[in-house]
Homo-oligomer: 362 residues x 2
């Protein structure tokens, strides 16, 4: 098991990464947040697979355990579902010292996390990510939110968990498409970090992607990089945290333009990373060789080759809705070189249209 | 004009207290948050009185100004109204660098504050309190929330404003009942702080309450005390902030038991303060003389003498829903002496019933 200590301005907590460790959740939690009620929130896909194991472990840890199961999918990440969860917590008499356990992928982590952050101005929150995307990215760093209209994560807050507990064995049951989707965030950290992590992800991309080939070191490497970035700018005030937005400006716009249905978040981010690399070569001097290496890495991880079935114009329009966009347009995160991000690069609307067109036609 | 610097862990900001200073809002804001859009949120009572003055001042400060007017009353502090406000911000293309101006009392500050805190994970927030209650208490300290079912402030977060700008002249148009209601929070700070502030509030209670008799020194004194408490425990983690709960455990329960309609928040807190004094004499050794002095202070400020038209049993039940209650019952803030609070005093249910009965029969 790997342990990364996440020391954030607002709270310090452990990120534990293991394989086959779900049965240890209860005892890991008792050492940090003893006593009280726990409410496990998961979706209908995860419930039959891991809910009982999580419940049993929490029970053995001495917790009074209840659960909430909601339908699966990004469309659940809305205010109406949040309000329903508030009602459940209210009816069960949950108080601040009690714990919400978000067992699942990014949707559950964001939704249950937002509810935990705002119910009674914050109950305890434990993230138990069961997807690759959530394990390397979404469960760490404290961003919680629901979507609002076409605005992804438009209603949310910053709220660090008390513990992140990732069991790589849960990736075994992840649909192949979701595993590939999570690989997009892995690729993002590789492109941002370069060095050893890039080499490691390169090796992963060299063969068929499978849960067994995702190592604790790889997940821990991504987490450590995210933690370092977030610790320096927890609430996106200095701008430093924005490097994590690599690939996400276009990625979020693609999700919005397709009503969060055609592509998974990771697939959309994968396409966004491709766009960022293309732009980086034109605007930041990323070499053709490095761009080719990075595009090949995305190929090897099984990410989409091109943007399909989306009007390019709609994507361009939606980049302007990006939460990080300023009054003078969208500031992109691009790369001077692999492992060397540059913040807040202005991209002219013509070039934005051109890269989306390239993404459609390549 | 008085200036109190509120240095909180998450943000430092000024609290400015003046009389007839509303026209200076725009220039005070440009010095702190230059540029961007401002959205002034107020209710139907405040709009005809102060909206145009606030708008003109912000316009003169170079801001693009729009506004939202909602119906008045605590019943507006709900998730449906928050969702409506999200929609307005969304339609107007509000971004993180733009500013929500909460112009009004505690309801507007809490509701618009919660929306500002959560829209895009936080836009800028400026509190312009126009009631005595909001000026001495609600607008300072970063608590924002909406009510949920019978749970007051059950959905919310901690979000410090960028500026608090209080114009005592706005108290001239406050209904007498609201002025008296605000005096309950003034009394709370006097009872907690003792000393000079208690003497000052004692003098205020010695004559008929009027806006003209509320001084900048008095408001600034309450604010300074609140700031000191909140700075030491911004998110209610160490327990120190709980002293501000003096009178509020019973006060909130009274509000809940009467569906937030029979009493104003301040009136309910006034009754809660009376209960706290009664309990303090029995449990903490507050002297009979001091209790009498304090009850007389509440009389002088025109606060309700007794609890009317509420089943006492319902109030007792609702104290158990208090967000600050633990697994072993409600922890009250009581007073060893005037100016000397004691935290987390356990009150047996029988005594709780007895004090509510006293409050009904006195």
């Amino acid at each position: 098991m790997r342990r990364i200590l996440a020391t954030m301005p607002s709270r310090a907590y452990d990120v534990l990464v293991g394989r086959g460790c779900l049965a240890g959740l209860g005892s890991a939690l008792t050492r940090r947040c003893p006593g009280g009620k726990t409410v496990v929130c998961c979706d209908e896909n995860v419930a039959p697979l891991y809910l009982e194991q999580a419940r049993a472990s929490l029970n053995a840890g001495g917790y009074e355990v209840s659960h909430i199961v909601i339908p699966a999918g990004e469309s659940q990440k809305n205010l109406a579902r949040a309000e329903e969860l508030y009602g459940v917590l209210y009816d069960r008499g949950i108080r601040r010292g009690d714990t919400m356990v978000a067992l699942g992928g990014g949707v559950i982590g964001d939704l249950a996390g937002f509810v935990a952050a705002t119910f009674q101005r914050g109950v305890r929150l434990v993230q138990v990510p069961t997807t690759l995307l959530a394990q390397v990215d979404a469960a760490v760093g404290g961003k919680v939110a629901v979507d609002f209209r076409a605005g992804k994560n438009y209603v949310g807050t910053f709220y660090q968990p008390w513990l992140v507990y990732a069991d790589l064995a849960t990736l075994e049951t992840l649909p192949a498409r979701e595993l590939h989707s999570g690989a997009a965030e892995v690729a993002k950290y590789a492109l941002l970090g370069g060095g050893e992590l890039l080499d490691r992800v390169g090796r992963l991309a060299g063969g068929p992607l499978s849960a067994a080939r995702v190592s604790q070191e790889l997940v821990a490497g991504c987490v450590a990089q995210k933690v370092a970035v977030v610790a320096a700018d927890e609430r996106e005030e200095t701008g430093a945290r924005a490097v994590l937005n690599l690939g996400h400006t276009v990625g979020h716009a693609i999700e919005g333009a397709t009503s969060f249905s055609r592509y998974t978040h990771g697939e959309a981010v994968g396409l966004g990373l491709r766009a960022s690399l293309w732009l980086s070569r034109r605007l930041c001097g990323l070499s053709a060789r490095e761009e080719a290496r990075a595009q090949a890495l995305l190929d090897g991880l099984g990410l989409p080759q091109r943007l399909e079935a989306v009007p390019g114009e709609a994507v361009c329009d939606l980049t302007r809705l990006d939460k990080k966009s300023g009054r003078h347009g969208v500031g992109y995160v691009l790369l001077d070189a692999l492992g060397s991000p540059r913040l807040d690069v202005r991209v002219r609307p013509e070039l934005e249209r051109e890269v989306i067109e390239w993404l459609v036609k390549r």
